[in-house]
């Protein structure tokens, strides 16, 4: 077998509780589900961990359910699950829109919402949606469960508040009032990583989140504040362009991202008016 992937060890929990015990007792271990992000790192030889907890078969974490007037989405719900779910389409259409633009069909069939969150890429397509919807990340360990507001989950580039013994078990989404809007700009429609990705909610208190314009997904409170207090879209756009911190990288340039982010803000405002 010719493969760039070095030997690895796979732990096979039969239940969530067993998976949590494995995370506690056999760590450091990396949870693995659809492997659509992990496998790229594994195959390029940049992933150090060699022990993985295969949680793909833990179907109890795949449920999408109503939670009060919001949603609880199991960490293992795939993007296909999200975009086919009538509940998601009704209550969080911007997530269905994001799910439809993740990779291609094959990635959508394997990539999971929890994996997108845990991978902690600043370009993760679903992350601006979760940020704009003010989701809670439900983390579980053998010691219990805690809920972390999405805005407090990332601490820097690819780093989170998760402990090594914790698993993401669900994302909880409170009811979202107002019109939802999502747009991803990449080199092409499918199979492209975003240059800029935005999710926004038009409400008395507008909520706007962007990906690929900083080390983590970001909310833009100063821009939101300006729009909430009646600033023109031109003013808000200038504030946004100063508020985000994009960089030049292999996918795009800081200048392009700033310009496109401003254009997207204007589109959002026009299309939801």
């Amino acid at each position: 077998m010719r493969s760039a992937v070095a030997g690895l060890e796979l732990l096979e929990p039969r239940s969530v509780n067993e998976a949590l015990r494995m995370m506690r007792d056999r760590g450091p271990a990396t949870p693995l589900a659809g492997a659509t992000d992990l496998y790229v790192h594994l195959n390029s030889g940049t992933l150090k961990p060699r022990r993985f907890v295969n949680r793909w078969a833990l179907d109890e974490l795949r449920r999408i359910a109503s939670k009060r007037d919001g949603l609880s989405i199991g960490a293992l719900a795939t993007f296909t699950d999200c975009l086919r779910s009538p509940l998601v389409r009704r209550r969080l259409p911007m997530l269905a829109a994001a799910a439809r633009e993740v990779g291609g069909v094959q990635i959508q069939n394997r990539g999971t919402l929890g994996g997108n969150v845990a991978n902690a890429s600043p370009a993760g397509d679903a992350l601006p949606v979760l940020a704009a919807a003010e989701a809670l990340v439900v983390l579980r360990s053998t010691e219990g469960e805690r809920r972390v507001p999405f805005s407090a989950f990332y601490t820097g580039y690819r780093s989170t508040v998760m402990r090594a013994d914790e698993l993401i078990v669900a994302l909880e989404i409170p009811p979202v009032a107002g019109k939802q809007w999502f747009r991803k700009v990449g080199t092409r429609l499918a199979q492209a990583i975003s240059k800029v990705v935005i999710a926004a909610v038009r409400d008395a208190r507008p909520r706007i989140a962007l990906g690929s314009v900083g080390p983590t997904v970001v909310r833009v409170p100063r821009t939101e504040e300006a729009l909430a207090s009646g600033a023109s879209i031109e003013q808000a756009r200038r504030i946004l362009e100063a508020e985000i911190k994009p960089i030049d990288d292999i996918r795009s340039t800081a200048a392009y991202r700033r310009r496109v982010a401003g254009n997207l803000l204007a589109c959002f405002w026009k299309e939801t008016s």
């Binding site: 796979l10 732990l11 096979e12 056999r26 295969n54 078969a57 069939n109 394997r110 499918a190």
Partner: protein, 201 residues
């Protein structure tokens, strides 16, 4: 890692030996304890080869492979099913597309162990003897390829699409095949073939 291998064996010898061990049922749950760390006994697989079953095109197979092996590697190297192609090997091109429980997936980014207990279908399973599957026939009829390398993946993605959406619109066809690249850019004829196959049923 090497400490867990029998001494004095080359990697190739070792694979031969483990094949025999696997045949004797000695590998499942093989303990690597005794090296002072807390490596798991039961439930921990690898990095050495393990024996497991895969159900492919309606037939059960026993294979021995390392946990790092992808479904694509095992299909091609252990089961000699080379229809699924290894091109990008990183989930970008779609040439390795197979169906797992009816859904199109990239076999190159699914560990073979994750496909245990699931129904795997590859392009080799489509034709019934000399009778081609409607999608295969439509690709020939509509010349839905140029070099042909991406074709097994395009065909399997089309099969998955039509099983879920028997009469897709043009947009649904493009969305259903968006994870499959064709470097010859025969896209229009591929989409024509998919549309024709949907009507052929």
């Amino acid at each position: 890692m090497s400490a867990s291998k029998p001494d004095g064996l080359s990697r190739r010898d070792f694979l031969g030996v483990t094949g025999a061990l696997a045949g004797a049922g000695l590998l499942a749950g093989k303990s690597t304890a005794g090296d002072g760390d807390n490596r798991p006994a039961a439930g921990g697989l690898g990095p050495d080869p393990v024996k497991f079953g895969l159900r492919v095109n309606g037939k059960d197979h026993e294979v021995a492979a390392e946990p790092r092996a992808t479904l694509l590697d095992v299909l091609r190297d252990s089961l000699d099913l080379t229809g699924a192609k290894k091109a990008c090997d990183r989930g970008e091109c779609g040439a390795c597309t197979v169906l797992v429980d009816g859904k199109a997936v990239y076999a190159c980014m699914m560990l073979a162990l994750q496909a245990r207990g699931r129904e795997i279908r590859t392009v080799e399973g489509l034709a019934k003897g000399e009778d081609l599957h409607a999608v295969q026939a439509a690709f020939i009829e509509h010349d839905g390829y140029q070099c042909g390398f991406c074709t097994p993946g395009q065909v399997m993605a089309t099969v998955a699409l039509l099983e879920k959406t028997p009469s897709p619109s043009g947009d649904q066809i493009r969305a259903g095949l968006c994870g499959n690249l064709c470097r010859c850019a025969a896209y229009n004829r591929i989409f024509d073939a998919a549309a024709a196959a949907s009507k052929a049923k």
